[in-house]
């Protein structure tokens, strides 16, 4: 009889989760809505929508449009602000059950520091995920996380302060490695790969600027190959860094691809919006894959597809 039992548990830089399938930031509601739609104790973890220092009403509607195998969305980080979040939403989340990761976002170093400070010592907050996709209000750049200098500064400040593990959500892009290296060196316990890429779509019926072209971010299956590429590139550059895949994961096969490409766990966004049981179905599919391969932990799948020596950069 084997001493070692099969377990889905994974370690993300100090945070141990019961399964490697989380719900991604902005796709899990406010703590109340998932009850009854999915067995919450079987969900590996929840990332909240991004919380900012002050309340934000968010973007005007429409906030969503479809594109081929994807959606373009812009919520404008609608959220009640950190104080209201801690007072009202956090308790609901804690009651809901799964390990909670609070996503924080801002446009200045000070805002990140204040957010981290406010969450300091809050029970039930298992980790902090830093959303780096917003504009940089200090340096007047369109995206904070596109620049090594600011990523180092902000991730560094949050990581030094935080008592819980810090996940840095690295924006996608042509080459994520320098940003990923900066976040890792600054002290992130885990990297979430990747933030959604900027996108635009015209209304399918009117094809005009009425009610307004949807400038936003692309999510869903369409981005899966971009996410996987970011994953293998970073996994090769940082073989020991825990990586969290986010982008286009809808099925167990997608999740297994991400693990094989170097992820320790995955986040499910749009797929959970469409089917709230997806995180549980995917976790079950990973168990089946482990059985099929006679493995006992998802960590054993990690990076198998890139174990081979790196190929030459394609051109």
């Amino acid at each position: 009889m084997s001493q070692q039992k099969r377990s889905l548990a994974v370690d993300l830089g100090g945070l141990v989760l019961p399964t490697p399938v989380l719900i991604a930031a902005g796709c899990a509601g406010t703590g109340r809505e998932l009850v009854g739609l999915v067995e919450l104790r079987r969900v590996g973890g929840i990332v909240t929508r991004t919380i900012t220092v002050d309340a934000r009403p968010g973007a005007a509607p429409p906030r969503i449009a479809e594109s081929p195998s994807g959606i373009v969305w812009r919520t404008g980080l609608a959220n009640p602000g950190i104080d209201a979040f801690i007072a009202t939403e956090l308790p609901t989340w804690i009651k809901a059950g799964p390990p909670l990761v609070v996503s924080i976002g801002g446009g200045t170093l000070e805002e990140y520091v204040r957010l981290t400070g406010a969450l300091q010592g809050q029970p039930g907050v298992h980790a902090v995920e830093i959303d780096l996709s917003g504009p940089d209000d200090e340096l007047q750049r369109p995206m904070l996380g596109a620049h090594v200098d600011r990523v180092s500064e902000i991730v560094g400040a949050v990581a030094r302060m935080s008592l819980v593990p810090v996940f840095a959500k690295v924006p996608g892009g042509l080459d994520v490695v320098p940003i990923a290296l900066a976040a890792a060196r600054a002290g992130a316990s885990c990297l979430t790969l990747t933030g959604s890429p900027p996108a635009f779509v015209l209304d399918a019926t009117s094809r005009t600027a009425v009610p307004g072209p949807a400038t936003g971010w692309l999510s869903g299956p369409a981005v899966k190959p971009l996410m996987l590429r970011a994953l293998i590139d970073v996994a090769r550059a940082l073989p020991r860094m825990p990586l969290l895949a986010s982008g286009g994961i809808a099925t167990a096969a997608d999740a297994i691809d991400a693990l094989l490409a170097g992820a320790s766990a995955v986040q499910v966004g749009v797929a959970a919006m469409i089917d709230p049981t997806a995180p549980v179905t995917i976790a079950r599919g990973i168990v089946e894959e482990l059985q099929r391969r006679s493995l006992i932990s998802p960590m054993q799948l990690r990076g198998l597809a890139i174990a081979a020596p790196p190929e030459a950069r394609p051109s």
Partner: protein
């Protein structure tokens, strides 16, 4: 709210529309007028979100007990086109009933129901429930053409007075339901107005009812990513109840039925003056 794999009992064509009746006792039992269901699309398509469909009928008793009916415009896009081609016995991954329903008036009696195209479908369900509560029902309905007016005979059966408007005058009067509103409110002695549909119609109802001091409820159809409160994409700008400012409500869980007096129309681009979400005339069959 339940999630079921519901079998299609029957389908039929109604003018420009297609109706699907599902066997879904768990949903039918709970469904109330104004609520909707969210139906999953097949997994190998290039469009991925659930489609949201207003409940047209939900039968708790009688020969149709345990069934639920919705109506689609087959020309709207790929999702409704797919739904329109389904046949009896196929299964639909359906979540519902979703959202806050219309509230019934306690004291007031004369109810005017306003909508155009397929948006009328949910109002007929409301009319039945109002009639069952001894209320008087009148209607203003419309569409681009005669075919696009949803079940005008049913409207007649359910209401005392019906005003029908079509863009081309092929049924009822020529013109939009917005133009017909003031007179209808007057004629019916409307004490409560219910409306469903595009923002421009709902805004017209809101403006009129504010002027005439008539309470109203409107069902919005803001675009939705999920339908059950997860994604925050179904935003409708609303004045806060305590008067302290404004925020976006979520149409799927805080609505789709709202008090139009609280909606901030100028912050809702689709409802802004002159905005027509279907400038290319597609409203024709919607």
């Amino acid at each position: 709210m339940k999630r079921v794999r519901a079998e299609i009992l029957s389908t039929r064509t109604l003018g420009a529309y297609r109706s699907l009746t599902l066997v879904a006792p768990e949903l039918a039992e709970r469904a109330r007028p104004g609520q909707f269901v969210a139906v999953a699309m097949p997994t190998d398509r290039d469009f991925i979100l659930r489609r949201h469909l207003t409940i047209h009928q939900s039968s708790r008793r009688g020969g149709w007990a345990g069934t639920l009916e919705f109506v689609v415009d087959p020309t709207a896009g790929p999702g409704t086109a797919w739904l329109s081609e389904l046949r009896a016995h196929e299964l639909l991954d359906t979540i519902g009933p979703l959202g806050k329903p219309f509230a019934y008036p306690k004291r007031l009696t004369n109810c005017l129901l306003v909508g155009e195209g397929r948006s009328v479908a949910g109002l007929y369900f409301l009319a039945q429930e109002l009639l069952a509560r001894g209320k008087r029902v009148d209607m203003v309905i419309g569409g681009a053409t005669m075919e696009a007016v949803f079940k005008p005979i049913e409207a007649k059966r359910l209401s005392q007075l019906v005003t029908v408007m079509t863009d081309d005058g092929t049924l009822g009067e020529r013109g939009s339901i917005i133009e017909a509103l003031p007179e209808a409110v007057q004629r019916c002695g409307a004490e409560v107005v219910y409306a469903a549909g595009r923002p421009a119609v709902l805004r017209a109802v809101a403006t009129l009812c504010r002027t005439r001091k008539i309470p109203a409820q409107v069902a919005v159809e803001e675009r939705m990513g999920c339908g059950y409160g997860l994604c925050g994409t179904c935003a409708v700008p609303m004045a806060l109840k305590d008067g302290s400012g404004w925020d976006h409500a979520r149409a799927c869980v805080d609505g789709p039925v709202f008090n139009p007096a609280r909606i901030l129309w100028d912050r809702w681009p689709a409802a802004a003056a002159g905005a027509d979400p279907n400038p290319d005339g597609v409203r024709g069959a919607s």
